[in-house]
Symmetry: C2
């Protein structure tokens, strides 16, 4: 069985995905009788490449140094999806869009358009981009169901650690009644660095220097990234329908070194906590710094590690902790979705 892939975006996750697909080629073939073929890649700076015979992995990793590339226009991106869908259909294989472009937090577009187009053309739609999910989850879910295709996005929360696939495949007939977790790597790293004595500004600078925090760190430290993840989880696991502005949001800018030290004296730590629960048919979703005691699993989260506790009506509480995430782990979330899509397990 062949699955033809169309990459929207080729940043660190996309590059790791290409390497992971190559590393796992024999295993995927042997276990699932499945072969991936990348037939389209749209980048921001190196143009858009379409090749129904398959794009060379080394070419892609070297920045698509080809004179066959189309200009990186919006129109050409839509054209790429249509060409990939047509090529998959012509080869009687399945196609999948792999959405990995940068997030548009306000609308989720144009990524949401790409995913809808792909599903409408009979492709699976897989996303590592939270934007289309937080803004269009219900419509994508319903469209995917109508088309009999997968719309999966494991890589959007906790870097590919099984959470959304776990809910769908391993917690059947289960109601999630609430969750709490530390879901943003950058803020957790900053708080950890402050526990080691750095000031807030020094910690932010360090996180930027090692490539974890962005040049404008507001998306992380003001709690926006956490809020987006709270929305994805609330809407998917708890059947809510909220947007980032619906989340009661406080970032970590007000956390001082004195507060960190006072917490340490009391054997506590500040963590940027994401929570959601149903209270009288209303979903209460919140992102805010919280002092956690030493017996809380969130206490032990050093650096970029994330964790979540999920309360359910079947298994009491599940605690899931990832360790030292990397772009390769996020890429694994995409690979897991692609294999689930190909197996029809969605």
């Amino acid at each position: 069985m062949d699955l033809s892939l169309c990459f929207m975006g080729l940043g660190s996750v996309g590059r790791e995905l290409i390497k992971l697909i190559d590393r796992k080629r024999d295993e995927v073939q042997a276990r699932y009788d499945l072969t991936f073929k990348i037939i389209g890649i749209a980048t921001g700076k190196h143009g858009i490449v379409f090749d129904p015979a398959g794009i060379d992995q080394a070419d892609a990793l070297n920045g698509l140094q080809t004179d066959r590339a189309w200009p990186s226009t919006e129109e050409n991106r839509l054209k790429l999806i249509r060409e990939c869908a047509a090529a998959s259909a012509a080869a009687a294989t399945n196609g999948a869009l792999v959405e990995m472009s940068p997030i548009n937090r306000a609308t989720g577009r144009p990524a949401l358009d790409y995913m809808e187009l792909a599903l409408n053309l009979g492709m699976h739609a897989i996303s590592a981009n939270k934007g289309p999910i937080v803004h269009g989850y219900r419509q994508l879910r319903d469209l995917a169901k109508k088309q009999g295709k997968a719309c999966l996005f494991e890589a959007t929360v906790m870097d590919g650690f099984p959470l959304l696939n776990l809910y769908r495949e391993c917690l059947p007939a289960t109601r999630v009644t609430g969750f709490r977790g530390v879901l943003n790597s950058t803020t957790n790293l900053i708080l950890t660095l402050m526990e080691e004595g750095k000031s807030f500004d020094e910690a932010v600078k360090h996180a930027q220097d090692i490539g974890i925090a962005e040049t404008d760190p507001g998306n992380d430290i003001d709690g926006w990234d956490s809020s987006v993840k709270v929305c994805v989880l609330s809407n998917v696991l708890m059947d809510a329908d909220i947007r980032p502005t619906d989340v009661d949001r406080t970032g970590i800018r007000a956390i001082t070194l004195d507060m960190i030290k006072a917490a340490q004296l009391a054997r506590r730590k500040w963590r940027l906590m994401c929570t959601a629960e149903w209270v009288n048919d209303r979903l209460v979703a919140k992102v805010a710094p919280e002092e956690v005691p030493a017996n809380d699993p969130m206490f032990r989260l050093y650096g970029t590690t994330s964790a979540i506790q999920i309360r359910t009506d079947t298994l009491n509480q599940l605690t899931l902790i990832e360790t030292a995430p990397t772009p390769a782990q996020t890429a694994f979330g995409v690979l897991a979705d692609l294999i689930a899509a190909a197996r029809g397990h969605f």
Copy 2:
């Protein structure tokens, strides 16, 4: 879609499963278009009942007070499986054996025979009983594959917490390189009680009084139950082929109150740790008490709670912690398997 169930055993897990199936009836119907019908129940003391029209839930929970019961003989158990398979086939539905009889640690039989018979007759085979899995995993797996049926057993380790289904559905193309965990509730409860000042004998007695430890507690405190679980996980997650006697096994009988107190002074705790890892193509599997430091997630495991850390070649390390397991949670593991079997997700 109907799934006809044949229960082997009706202990606390079986009774909780009947209640859970009833509680989740509408949700299972709505989400998966699936209806369960219990058509056979084999008990140890209350005979064996077969009713292709469906056994009444209240009857079953009240101890099958029926004069239609067959005597609880080995021959009648095999007959029950054959009758259930024939009734499922006649009704053009799928059938599933739900194996919940007490474990035979030495051979896994007769439960292994029941599962083989069920698969040979075209039924799915689901087990909460570790015996047949630890002794017959490879043959059951191959037979199930040949028959196109499910052989699933989530409830055998960590009380229904997603672990085996998580590996199969959410960690595709992943090599598990090792694991460590606390997998036996009774010993962890005993160690917790000793940390509160009880002697070993008092702690064992207390665990027996509240129904956690058995009259002969050796299965737990000598590490046999842990060893059986290590085998299940090693054979399924790591493609090993070991038996409980292959595990380097030390129980907790030698742990004294003085050792517990000395550990506490050093901010450490004794835990009965299960470990397995590949060392030069040899699987090294061990069960032994281990002093864990305060920053180890195993440090925080109070009472009957279990936890596991799984190392992989795709996601680095996953840490999974259950909370306060009950027979209802074990029953959920069986329900999850039944739904996966019905959906064809195996």
